[in-house]
């Protein structure tokens, strides 16, 4: 799930407004976008990239693809995911928000054992100085620069702020892994933590979590097993219980998913938890 410059990327929904805007930026950054998909525009070239009817066609004609990224509205997202998985990509980045949960489950069932899904509702993946896939401002040098900190975030906007603070403090990132704001994610905080632990360039890890679900609690168990310093910030301390705070996954029901529970679990595992986003950089700098 750490994106590399050698990864061959297909953009689903490449001809739309967002697909076009972000494909241009990915290409300019150095990401190898080898093809795009739009069934109505197959055979054309868009932003310098050949367009196909399906990811399967793109993979077949171009000699294989590693990554698919979806700029696809919710009603078509499941079919798009099934196409990408059938094409043999090993990583599928699902940016789409508000996909019906049962479609998400079908997506995960189709991907099981074949393809890693990142998302849904992720802002994507960035490896500063190398490549990015998704809708993060990788090209903004105040936000991203090559370095040793791996950042895991459920949120794109907050992830951006944390990365900005790191760069302000003189720290760059080895990878940004946007896992997504949905409740049923293909890649969890714990999965991303393991990947960053195994990554040689990563010397410290920042978890940007949120209230809701049990991913941070599970990641705390993973954090016990690794030696790299881990710092966390959990958003939602001031949020009222029983309300979905924008992200479908960010809801506290009863005591499950609460800020206090997450903080307790992380601290018990030796993870330093920052009170504010500004403290994250200080804590990670101090623990290295």
């Amino acid at each position: 799930m750490i994106v590399r410059r050698t990864d061959r990327v297909v953009v689903q929904g490449i001809t739309g407004k967002q697909g076009t805007f972000w494909t241009e930026r990915m290409l300019a950054y150095g990401t190898q976008v080898i093809g795009g998909v739009n069934p109505k525009r197959a055979g054309e070239t868009h932003v310098g990239v050949p367009v196909f009817a399906r990811v399967r066609d793109a993979a077949q004609e171009l000699g294989g693809a590693d990554v698919a990224v979806m700029f696809i509205p919710p009603p078509q997202a499941l079919a798009a995911a099934e196409d990408a998985i059938a094409a043999g990509v090993t990583l599928l980045v699902v940016l789409t928000e508000h996909i019906p949960a049962q479609d998400v489950m079908r997506m995960h069932a189709a991907a099981a054992g074949k393809c890693r899904i990142v998302g849904p509702n992720t802002a994507g993946l960035v490896t500063p100085g190398e490549a990015f896939v998704g809708i993060m401002p990788a090209f903004n040098t105040r936000v991203f620069k090559p370095g040793g900190i791996g950042v895991i975030s459920r949120s794109g906007s907050l992830g951006t702020l944390i990365c900005l603070n790191l760069v302000d403090a003189g720290l760059g990132q080895s990878a940004f892994i946007g896992i997504g704001g949905d409740p049923m994610l293909g890649t969890t905080t714990g999965d991303a933590l393991r990947a960053l632990d195994a990554d040689e360039r990563t010397t410290g890890i920042v978890i940007v979590g949120e209230i809701g679900g049990a991913m941070e609690e599970a990641a705390a168990e993973e954090a016990r097993k690794i030696t790299k310093p881990v710092v966390a910030f959990i958003a939602g301390r001031a949020s009222p219980p029983g309300k979905k705070m924008g992200h479908a996954g960010a809801i506290v029901t009863g005591t499950a998913g609460s800020y206090a529970g997450k903080r307790r679990a992380l601290e018990a595992a030796g993870v330093k938890v920052a009170d504010t986003p500004a403290m994250v950089a200080e804590l990670i700098a101090a623990s290295r």
Partner: protein, 367 residues
Amino acid sequence: MDLEEVEGKRVLAAAGIAVPAGELCADPAAAAAAVERLGPSAIKAQVPAGKRGKAGGVRLVVNAAEARLAAQAILGMEIGGHRVERVLVEQRADIAEELYCAVLNDVATRGPLILFSAAGGMDIEEVAAKTPQALVRIPVDIAHGPDPERIRNGVGDHALADMLARLYDIYVRSDAELVEINPLVRLKGGGLLALDCKLTVDDAALYRQPELARRGAPEKQTELERRGREHGLKFIELPGNIGVLANGAGLTMTTMDVIEHHGGKPANFLEIGGEAYTKATAALALVLANPGVKSLIVNFCGAFARTDVMAEGVVRAWEELKPTLPVFFSVHGTGEEEAIKLIRGRLGLEPHDKMEDAVRAAVEAAR
């Protein structure tokens, strides 16, 4: 979206799951007349909320006079923030045992989960906490549907297994997040009967569930929250006095957190992330419509959302509405240079370079 019991039971009945004979009544006289026809009954508040029994919203009656009194007491009650407008009058059953069953989205397995317990009638969270061994959990592969043999082995009974298969079909066909029958009862004379039903439909799937969307209970919301919804904005009113306008759920929650960290109280949650980032004008009008707001923090951190587009919307709304309260900006990420230029040029304000400083200033100004 939650459905009231009576609507959920309509869905059960249509799928061949037996429910008690009942009538929906809006006044005590109708409830009394219904009991004349049905005999001993339960009078049940219809609100999309749990724990109705504990709140006094369910009463057992034997005759019309009792029914009238019970309905009088229950109608107009407030349960879980909802006013009771209707009661369901339901014929009482001869119960041999109370069971529990549900089908729901399971985050851990990323698939559907069938839950069954021989200990029904109680709060299922309580059952799960106290006697987890009494809870049968059957994960389902959504691509293939449930394995009938596995269900039969799990619950040990053909009639129950058949009922669970029907419940699973309802779950799939309704795009449910949860469909729960608690209690499901076995009658003394044999047979199963659903005494209650909770059906929650996935909000993201309402576009393809028009019938259920129409039957679902409207979410409890304030006037401003309703206006936000009309503009396609997620707005939640809070008791504080510092207005919040930010982009993205994570950053918006964090802005609220930092306000509280510095001793302030946020007046709202309002994010203009995703495609909604072009709706800054409507969003600002919404925040300012709350008369309790004493200061405002505008915190943008553009990834997907372009801060210059959002700033343009805020500036335009500011020029139009001419509010007098103090406002503090923090703007970073995609489009920040243009955004900062706009705010300086048209509002004559200097955005704070650090979000913390902007928040602290807003907290100070609200005092």
